[in-house]
């Protein structure tokens, strides 16, 4: 059970003078249950890539296999694929349209041909999963706060019971607390359901804390595909392509350069705290404290 991209190429505006090679020979295997960060700056091809995952865009060449089946085979059920690979676009609150929150979340399951009852059950479960309380169910989605709207929109995709959840910039425009809340909620969802999550972002700092694998896109190709620690080792190369490792990486590197014998692979503030405490002369700390 997995999603495989095999030598995928995509060219926008083929046969015209303005042709753009948006994806170049992308090969990826996305197994069940991984938490993945997909990183790249604007125009790196990451948005084009995620639209390939549920068949919204057909590759110019190459193939995509979901559970061993080519998704662009003639009689492949695309609708079913889209329910299995749930794609949440950037600013998903812009797709809300129903008169109340609950109806909006029912839209997806009903499109799948489920009964009203089943759709409602799924909508209820999905809204709970994103932390929307009952009191909001019958409010107009347009009266909610920005963060709540986004949760409802994510629930709209979750209600289709996807096996892979792809979120394009789920924290864009939110304030720091709102950002942490959404990311924590997604991490919790991942924990509870074992769903595969692909988090698209341009911020390493946001994803470093959560994901187990980072795919870095640049100019339409995969630049790195590895565990966060390994990817951040290339912090200098990342900078050259307009990205940056988390600030913690730079701090650890700077400390090491100035002679403190720290392990520079820490990717989060917590890890850095532990590492620095380990390497600091303990007596001095205590003495200073006294």
């Amino acid at each position: 059970m997995s999603l495989i991209l095999d030598h995928v190429n995509y060219v926008y505006g083929e046969d015209t003078a303005l042709a753009v090679h948006a994806l170049k020979d992308v090969n990826l295997v996305i197994p069940d249950g991984q938490f993945i960060g997909l990183i790249g700056h604007t125009g790196s091809g990451k948005s084009t890539l995620v639209q390939h995952l549920n068949g919204l865009i057909k590759p110019t060449s190459g193939a995509i296999y979901y559970n061993g089946e080519d998704i662009h085979e003639k009689d492949y059920d695309k609708k079913k694929l889209r329910s299995k690979v749930g794609l949440v676009f950037q600013y998903p609150e812009h797709q809300l349209f129903e008169i109340d929150v609950f109806k909006d979340v029912c839209f997806g399951p009903k499109n799948l041909g489920l009964s009203q009852k089943e759709a409602e059950l799924r909508a209820y479960a999905a809204l709970k999963q994103v932390g929307i309380e009952d009191e909001y169910f019958y409010q107009s989605p347009f009266d909610l706060s920005g963060g709540q709207k986004r949760r409802v929109a994510i629930a709209g995709v979750l209600a289709m019971k996807p096996e892979i959840l792809v979120l394009d910039e789920p924290t864009a425009g939110l304030d720091p607390k709102g950002r942490d809340e959404i990311l924590d909620q997604i991490a919790k969802l991942k924990e509870e359901t074992g769903i595969t999550v692909i988090l698209v972002s341009h911020s390493m700092e946001d994803v470093a804390k959560y994901v187990e694998r980072i795919i870095v896109m640049n100019h339409g190709s995969v630049l790195y595909d590895d565990a966060p620690k390994e990817v951040f080792r290339h912090y200098k190369e990342l900078e050259q392509v307009g990205l940056a490792a988390p600030q913690v990486t730079y701090i650890m590197q700077a400390l090491a350069k100035k002679g403190m014998p720290v392990d520079t692979s820490a990717t989060t503030v917590e890890e850095a705290v532990q590492e620095i405490l380990r390497k600091m002369p303990q007596k001095k700390i205590l003495k200073e404290k006294a």
């Binding site: 639209q51 549920n54 919204l56 609708k79 889209r82 329910s83 749930g86 794609l87 949440v88 676009f89 998903p92 812009h94 797709q95 809300l96 349209f97 839209f107 997806g108 499109n111 799948l112 347009f142 709209g156 995709v157 289709m160």
Partner: protein, 266 residues
């Protein structure tokens, strides 16, 4: 998907026609269209064809761009021709089963076809060589006198240019919302007409909301930049006639006088 509309879009080139004042081109297009209805003889159409051909040549726009514009109206053209061909009473020419083609019918059909295609090519020549922006400028300036009749000329022109600026943005947005709803299992393609219309709701509601939000933001941004209608306003790119424009007006006058002369004397 929807972005492939190319009918009469501006074609960048460095030509005499491109450089003309947009007012000249607007007036010329109007005159040309009128002239097509003034002349009613073959000599007249030849004159119009020559005039058009010379202008196209001068504009340096490849001929296939003109033809592209024609594609959109082929259907209307065919209907017009067929109706005129079979339904005009007069001297029978050929009879096929119940349908009769008359001499008058043939004449009118060909004439209508020529008129319509000249009209389309003529007006697309204007849009191909003039940016939408300068076209609105020209309209504002030409309609200027209407201000005294309390017609909000400046405001209308401003609305047009804002609309032009936001069309590509809204098209992109439509595309995005459509994809987002397809990702939620929406189906915009299958079903009968009623089902299709119903399927548009998840697209149209978000699109309207977004358009209103944008309009609101834009109004605020314009006010913040001291916009207060047409009064007290100066122009960064005021329209000024140059020598070439005067020559163009003379050529136009000659052509139009010629058309009238053909009508009267031939």
């Amino acid at each position: 998907m929807i972005r492939d509309i190319t009918l009469g879009q501006y074609y960048q080139a460095d030509s005499v026609i491109h450089k003309l004042d947009p007012r000249v081109k607007l007036v010329a297009t109007l005159c040309f269209i009128i002239s097509l209805f003034v002349v009613d003889s073959w000599v007249g159409y030849v004159a119009a064809a020559v005039f058009l051909a010379v202008m196209i040549r001068l504009s340096k726009v490849p001929f296939r761009f003109m033809v592209k514009g024609m594609k959109a109206i082929v259907f209307i053209l065919l209907i017009t021709v067929v109706f005129n061909l079979f339904l005009t009473p007069g001297e029978p020419l050929v009879t096929v089963w119940k349908f009769t083609i008359t001499e008058e019918g043939l004449r009118i059909a060909v004439m209508m076809a020529v008129r319509l295609s000249f009209l389309i090519v003529g007006s697309s020549l204007m849009t191909l060589t003039t940016t939408p922006n300068s076209l609105t400028d020209a309209m504002e300036k030409l309609m200027g006198p209407l201000k005294y009749l309390k017609v909000p000329v400046h405001e209308v022109a401003m609305m047009m240019s804002i609309a032009l600026r936001f069309i590509p943005i809204l098209l992109e947005e439509t595309d995005k919302i459509m994809k987002a709803q397809i990702a939620r299992g929406a189906d915009f393609e299958s079903g009968n007409l009623i089902k299709k219309a119903k399927a548009m709701v998840p697209l149209l509601v978000p699109l309207f909301i977004s358009a209103f939000r944008r309009a609101n933001d834009l109004a605020m941004a314009m006010e913040a930049r001291c916009y207060r209608g047409g009064e007290h306003r100066t122009k960064m790119k005021p329209l000024r006639y140059h020598a070439a424009d005067r020559v163009a007006y003379c050529v136009l006058l000659l052509y139009f006088a010629g058309c009238v002369a053909i009508r009267v004397w031939l």
